[in-house]
Amino acid sequence: MTRRAIIVGALLFTAISIVLSFAVVKPAKPIIEIRGEPLVKISGDGGGIFDVVILNTLFTAWAVMAIVLVFWLLVARRRSLVPSGLYNLGEAVIDLIDGFCASIAGERNGRRFLPLVATLFIYIAFANWLSLTPVFNSVGFFEPLGAEEHEFHEDATVFKGDGISIISFGAQDIEIEGAACETLTGEEAVHCRETAIEHATEGKVKEGEKVGLLVPYLRGINTDLMTPASFAIVSVLLIQYWGITSLGFFRYASKFINFKGPLDFFVGFLESIAELAKLISFSFRLFGNLLAGEILLLVMTFLVPLVSVVMVIFYGLELFVGAIQAFVFGALTLVFASLAVSHHGPEEHEQAEPEASAHH
């Protein structure tokens, strides 16, 4: 085959696919939900604060934990029938992270910080990469559109009624004007939403079809704010713990509450604000990157559906961003921890040196 024939064939295939995707295979728009959706409702319906539900991100977190545990248990069994390739992989990864910790925090402290940093890096990297596999965000159950507060969504799709509910060719997207009903409460709100739903779905829903949306069983865990926030809370609490056990409670507290003078007091106050800001910045950095990546991938995939060449570029970007965010989370935890256990200021160095060897 000549090169020209291949290029012409590829262009023709692209053109035909674009035409097919807009005319024949009209896929539905992806419906983007910011919050995690409940899979099992133990008490309440997922709307209030104290409702106990199992979200799909929680279920995915359990699945990712199981996968990570199985993988690293297989790595750690070196004296059995498992081939030695996995053990080399595990050793290389842990060696890399250990060298990184030692290079930033010093020998002794590096070994102390290694478990948290390695866990954060490995778990977040696994979770981010697993959320790019085909099973995520695609298989789930059908949630019908209702008029109650927790069942109401602004966008929905029309599903075929029986058989396996797949979003079929030529599926209709339905947009419901729910904005007018937000100021009402109680019965009036339900009635208002019902009329809005009827108004939006008239003529578009045939016999045996249902209106609702797909709630996926598996959803990337860092797209829900709770997971990055929990990582951030653990990191910040452990940093404080390490600082207190290294320096002693009063010396560590004197970084934040310092009565030596007005300027020192102000600096200490700013330091404590910075500690709280670490919570927010850790969680929002991971959450924002991953959520934006998921929305970007969904939108790009369904933009021109059969010709997903553009999506491949963003897929590569998401692979890269997932790994980088995991590395950045671990590295920033390490840097802040090594700052927290260090004695600050050159005027304290003479007294600090003999005490440092006595500590731990």
């Binding site: 899979l39 596999t133 085909p134 099973v135 298989v139 159950f141 396996i164 069983y217 598996l218």
Partner: protein, 88 residues
């Protein structure tokens, strides 16, 4: 290694690596879809709603990635030996 017991099936041997990669993509997608469809059918028969679907999903995923990994190793060794033999 000892002598091979039977020759390995290599259905895509003559094709260039790009065509072999198309095969891997379709294989992964079909494995996952068959796993999910099988799970849903078992759910319809036994009426346990999400259990068999998820098991089918997991099984489909494991088969897809394991088979995909084996095929990818094939493709990578083809590319590697090709590079060492002649400049492609």
């Amino acid at each position: 290694m000892t002598e091979p017991r039977k020759p390995k099936l290599r259905p895509m041997q003559g094709f260039p690596p790009s065509v072999q990669l198309i095969g891997i993509g379709w294989y992964v997608a079909i494995c996952i879809i068959l796993g999910v469809v099988g799970g849903v059918f078992l759910d319809r028969a036994v009426d346990t709603k999400p259990l068999f679907t998820m098991l089918g999903l997991m099984l489909g995923m494991v088969m897809a990635f394991w088979g995909g990994y084996l095929q990818l190793k094939e493709v990578l060794t083809t590319i590697g030996s090709g590079k060492r033999g002649e400049k492609q």
